[in-house]
């Protein structure tokens, strides 16, 4: 099976890759958002001690 055949998914490429790509992007956005929230929370915590 060639790479082109693999990407075509027997004619269902749009549906199969549309599912997986959106899922991966959604998970990546969640991970980025949680990491940003955690580092912001850490910054707030250290500012409180400076007062």
């Amino acid at each position: 099976m060639s790479a082109g055949d693999f990407l075509a998914m027997g004619g269902y490429g749009f549906y199969v890759w549309g599912s997986y790509i959106v899922a991966v992007v959604a998970i990546a956005i969640e991970v980025a958002a949680v990491r940003a929230r955690l580092s912001a929370a850490r910054r707030i915590g250290s500012e409180e001690t400076d007062r």
Binding site: V16, V22, E30, L38, E48
Partner: protein, 251 residues
């Protein structure tokens, strides 16, 4: 009652924080490894389906996402019940940390279901019993988060949102049994605990590995989010200041 291990020690945010910090990377790495194995099984080992061709490969993301979306809700409702019963801050924080990830998996289940429905059933969406109850699950997660955000006092937000989450829990068995109770578009379960799967073993294996990947991912990201929530909500306490001071000193 006497016990050699004081389990309630971890009910305090201050002592749970370092535990969450230590555990999160292990769950994240396990989730990544399981996802690699699951994708390999799903795309390179599992054969083409006789009826659906390659379109069925959506199963390896759709079914695990749907399972985890329901399971997270049950766990969230459990923590809400704990928070109402014992009035512990950490239980409410766990529920708060789970909701966005539950909404994420509900969204993935609905999205991939739509993209699977089009080639196999001829439609992206129908007001089928299972699809409608899964959509209600998404709204329950959104409603829970919106209600939390609408109440300024975190302890009042804990109680109000816990009541909402517990009332909404009735929807989870409705989703699960919808394919039995109503004979609408969505097919019945291919895998059950009581009978042999109606699909090839390798397909079931790929689905289960992906389900564990999704589950471990959910645990990892929840443990990260609960750390942020603990810091946000406990920042007036001394131990957060000490923690931040120690982190700054280490730089």
């Amino acid at each position: 009652m006497t016990s050699s291990i004081n389990w309630f020690r971890f009910a305090s945010p201050a002592s749970f924080f370092p535990l969450a910090q230590r555990l999160a990377p292990w769950f994240a790495v396990s989730a990544a490894l399981l996802a690699i194995v699951g994708i390999y099984l799903g795309f390179f080992v599992a054969p083409t389906d006789a009826q659906q061709g390659e379109a069925y490969r959506i199963i390896f993301i759709h079914v695990p996402a749907a399972w985890v979306s329901m399971f997270i809700y049950i766990v969230m409702a459990f923590w809400c019940a704990m928070s109402l019963t014992f009035n512990t801050r950490l239980a409410a924080m766990m529920a708060q940390a789970l909701a966005p990830t539950g909404a994420l998996f509900t969204f993935i289940a609905l999205w991939t279901g739509a993209l699977w429905g089009k080639p196999t059933w001829g439609t992206y969406w129908a007001w089928d019993a299972r699809m409608t109850s899964e959509l209600i699950l998404l709204f329950l997660y959104f409603g829970y988060m919106a209600l939390r955000n609408a109440i300024d006092d975190p302890r009042r937000a804990d109680r109000a949102s816990a009541v909402l989450a517990l009332v909404g829990a009735i929807n989870v068995p409705i989703i699960y049994f919808s394919v039995k109770w109503w004979n609408t578009l969505h097919q019945g379960a291919s895998v059950s605990l009581t009978s042999a799967p109606t699909m090839a073993r390798i397909m079931v294996a790929g689905m289960l590995v992906m389900a564990f990947a999704a589950w471990f991912y959910a645990i990892a990201v929840t443990l990260l989010r609960v750390q942020a929530i603990i810091l946000e909500r406990e920042r007036a306490t001394g131990w957060v200041g000490e923690l931040a001071g120690a982190a700054r000193g280490a730089k």
